[in-house]
């Protein structure tokens, strides 16, 4: 068995505590064979950057249920670039308004999964953005 795994870091920023969605996603991704580094709520840009340095995730996923996500995302991406970890792809989920998607992509967000997204889309995004296979795909490979 190959030991190549997708490492996905999941976190929430600021005072947003509606973590049901991101906890569900963590379990779904685990069941797809992803290694989820789960950071929960109350993170800051600085703490996420520190975690990226040591954990070396393939992707960072953020969940928002408050309307301040553009502010938080801009601040985080600026600081990530300044810290030399701007190459780690960032995906957003939660209550993301469709009208904000262009602005978020302009900031550098690679994946956006707002209301109506299905977990399959997120999994496919992870595979395409990392170029790594899922454990479940590998199990059936010759």
């Amino acid at each position: 068995m190959s030991t190549i795994k997708i490492r996905c870091m999941l976190a929430m920023l600021g005072t947003d505590v509606h973590s049901k969605g991101i906890r569900t996603l963590a379990q779904v991704l685990r069941d797809e064979g992803v290694e989820v580094i789960y950071l929960g709520e109350h993170n800051t840009a600085e703490s996420l950057i520190n975690a990226i340095l040591s954990e070396d995730p393939d992707v960072l996923g953020l969940s928002f249920s408050t309307s301040t996500y553009i502010h938080y995302t801009r601040d985080l991406l600026d600081k990530m670039r300044a810290a030399g970890v701007g190459d780690v792809p960032v995906m957003l989920g939660g209550l993301i308004h469709p009208d904000d998607e262009d602005a978020l992509r302009e900031l550098g967000v690679k994946g956006i999964f707002g209301p109506g997204s299905v977990t399959r889309d997120i999994v496919e995004f992870l595979v395409s953005v990392t170029g790594k296979p899922l454990a479940s795909q590998r199990a059936t490979a010759p």
């Binding site: 795994k5 963590a26 069941d31 520190n50």
Partner: protein, 326 residues
């Protein structure tokens, strides 16, 4: 140490890691975890730079408070401006290979502290694979400028016990609800400790658990040069952590003043590491295209057709490795 020397691209990674570039250190650990064999020269070079940083293993049943204990210990060490690295191992799902690595949450107070390096690792299912990766990851961390290194694992199986084999000092964490004296003498995780801690002492009859452990571990061992201290603490409330740190320092000093014991441990550690490396390599060769897998497939056919027993087939496969004499 070996004839392998890192190529120039690898040389610059090595220089970056040695200069304290934590991202390069994090990436190197990822390559080790992925089973990337091209890291061997780098790991060998880092092994030469290995410092004598004390490595403490923390193990115990799920929910005993290992991460919370670590969080408290880190607070104490950071108050003295000591730099700390943590390898936090969580189990992988044996069914999907996925994992939720959540130990960082318990150590959230240190999330933005650049003097604390926390790396989460999934135990993964591969025989020996995790122990190999953990050993190499420790080599990376021990070459860096840390004062203490901790490795935290759930102590439930052989794999996990082997991971703490990498440590100089092993702390076994239990709770007052971890069972009676009979549980305490069960073989396995309770035999590996240099320090025992009954955590969550505010939640039950901690003193009874301490007594049961003392009965199980100290009886007949009075002449031992190191009698494992049995402590109690409330890690979540910061109670009793001074004594834990003192015990860790005592054990470090004990090893320093007993070089024969220290070198016996080193020898044991090296043996485990070599065994794991060999087993991991054999396992990989069984799976990737090549002569060993061809041999396996051939004998698989024979055994599946019932032309020979699985034992005969296995012995024939072993023979192709050139191992004779048994």
């Amino acid at each position: 140490m070996t004839s392998q020397t890192p190529a120039s691209a690898e040389r610059s990674i090595l220089d970056a890691v040695m200069a304290g570039n934590l991202r390069q250190a994090g990436r190197l650990i990822s390559r080790v975890e992925a089973g990337d064999t091209s890291v061997a020269p780098l790991i060998a070079a880092l092994e030469e730079k290995r410092r004598t940083t004390p490595v403490v293993g923390i193990t115990g049943p799920p929910g005993a408070g290992k991460s919370t204990l670590l969080d408290g210990l880190i607070c104490h060490l950071r108050a003295s401006h000591l730099r700390v690295a943590v390898l936090a191992v969580d189990p992988s799902s044996p069914f999907t290979g996925g994992a939720i690595l959540g130990d960082r949450i318990r150590m959230g107070r240190h999330a933005a502290d650049s003097g604390v390096f926390i790396r989460s690792m999934a135990s993964r299912a591969s025989l020996g694979g995790m122990a190999v990766a953990a050993g190499d990851a420790l080599t990376v961390l021990a070459a860096l400028d840390f004062d203490w290194i901790f490795i935290e694992t759930v102590g439930v199986g052989q794999n996990e016990v082997e991971i703490v084999d990498h440590a100089d000092t092993v702390v076994v964490v239990v709770t007052p609800h971890s069972g009676d004296a009979i549980q305490a003498v069960k073989a396995g995780v309770l035999e590996v400790g240099d320090v025992y801690l009954v955590n969550k002492a505010d939640t039950g009859a901690a003193q009874r658990t301490v007594s049961a452990l003392r009965e199980a571990l100290h009886r007949g061992a009075e002449q031992a040069r190191w009698l494992p201290p049995i402590l109690s603490a409330e890690a979540a409330n910061g109670v009793g952590l001074d004594a834990v740190l003192a015990a860790l320092r005592q054990h470090r000093d004990y090893l320093a003043s007993n070089p024969d014991e220290f070198s016996a441990r080193e020898q044991h550690r090296m043996r485990i590491r070599l065994e794991r490396l060999v087993l991991a390599e054999v396992e990989q060769r069984l799976h990737r295209p090549g002569p060993l897998r061809d041999t396996l497939d051939h004998w698989l056919g024979e055994a599946a057709q019932k032309r020979c027993s699985p034992r005969v087939a296995a012995a024939a496969i072993i023979n192709t490795l050139g191992i004779t004499g048994e």
